[in-house]
Amino acid sequence: MLSAAVDFSNVDWNEMGIATWDTVRMLFFSTLFTMIIGLPLGILLFMTSRSDSNGSRALYSVLSLIVNILRSVPFVILMISIIPFTKIVVGTSIGVIGSIPPLVIAAAPFFARLVETSLREVDRGVIEAATAMGASKGQIVGKVLLPESMPGLLAGITITTVTLVSYTAMSGLIGGGGLGDLAIRYGYQRYEPSVMIVSVIVLVVLVQLLQMLGDRLVLKFSKK
């Protein structure tokens, strides 16, 4: 029925392959930088939120506000509004490279909140025990918080990566490249639904694979 309405013969499989590869590259680098920025930010949010000192709590309020602002701006708007910033950072605002800064800026605060939540799940008693054993703050982060929250952190990375898949598709709107770009140019602008359908199927498969990998890792690290 579908094949009667949609002709798959005009799908350029070579171009589809390149677009898929572009999407994978975008995902890889945006996830990487999201982790690099989001993880320390999440740890900082967690540590400052429960500190006794007034300075730390003030820092928490500021960080929390920035994170909330970045998280509440719709990705499409964020992506377009930071084009000048993107050009300064990576020299271009299009293609795989040009799409990475907006992806990271959108995903890092999101991931930081997931990190903060995971760290909150760590039993306070275990932190207390480490403190009683003379652990420094750095040791508590590195030897208690991160290992204890590993399953939660891995689940957070999975959620963030899957969210980034849909963001990469959206970045096609401003010439970001990849599968989303392909789907919009061919499927929407040239009325070739076949390309759009194939692009979407590839995206679904990608998400499915990522989720399976993430679930497996979470299971491997769960010792409770």
Partner: protein
Amino acid sequence: MIRLNQLTKTYGNKHKQTTALQNLDLTITQGEIFGIIGHSGAGKSTLLRSINLLERPTSGEVWFGDTNITALSEKELQHVRRKMGMIFQHFNLLSSATVYDNIAFPLRLVRTPKEEIEQKVSNLLKLVGLEEHRNKYPAQLSGGQKQRVGIARALANDPQVLLCDEATSALDPQTTNSILRLLLDINKQLGITIVLITHEMHVIQTICDRVAVIHDGNIVEQGPVTEVFLKPEHRVTREFIREENENAELLDAIIESLPTNDHAQVVKINFLGTSTYEPILSVIVQTTGVSFAILQGTIATMKDTPYGQLIVRFEGSQEALERTYRMIESQVHELEVIR
């Protein structure tokens, strides 16, 4: 060894304040097992956490040996904390680490060489009897085993003092006793001072040398366990001892129902030490000619000291009764006419 000086801790802001500890003084001597008993909310947890400054007092000083640790920097405090082990009601083990890694944790904090860690942890595993569980995760252990891991971990840094935060409250009676025996062994063999908090008189009675009763943020009674236990002065202390004695209410009812007059009296006799095991009562009544019925009796030990308590109803002439009492009093710890 540990001295708390005018310790006060208040929580909350200036609008609503609760006081957990109020001008509390306490001295714990080297090598003893010191028990702190109190109901929940009495401040015992805050008190214990003040000793290693997990909770900073609002005012007052904490002395550890010759050091006023309330005056130390964060870094110096971390150093002092390594000389104090701590175990917890809910064990607080790293769920992501094996038994071995949990015990090695404090050693790795101070970058102990690998071979030394291996040797120390092996010894500790033997001490707490968990050699065959070294590669298990806490989730695979029973409560008692988890507490043994907690104890081994607390001992890894060769501490001078072991702080026990309701260490047996989450365990069944049998496991509680095995953990208490282990703590007693550690105190005897390694000479480690133990400070424990509990709400169970049983714990105090089994292993403590001295006890302090805490109520409303203050210590209301303290002294050697035998003294406090047999001669409780404060209302709260009496309550704790009563709770331990399950039949207290039943006994009250029995005593109430018995007719008493000049020729029949109900008496409580406390034995302490070796007199506990001697036939004092039967020998005395043979000479004074009174008859007696035992309404209730317990014989137990307080740590190593045997003690016994008898509730006895004597019948005889007033003169004979008084003679009996005098003779008993000369041989046992204490005698009290209840009715």
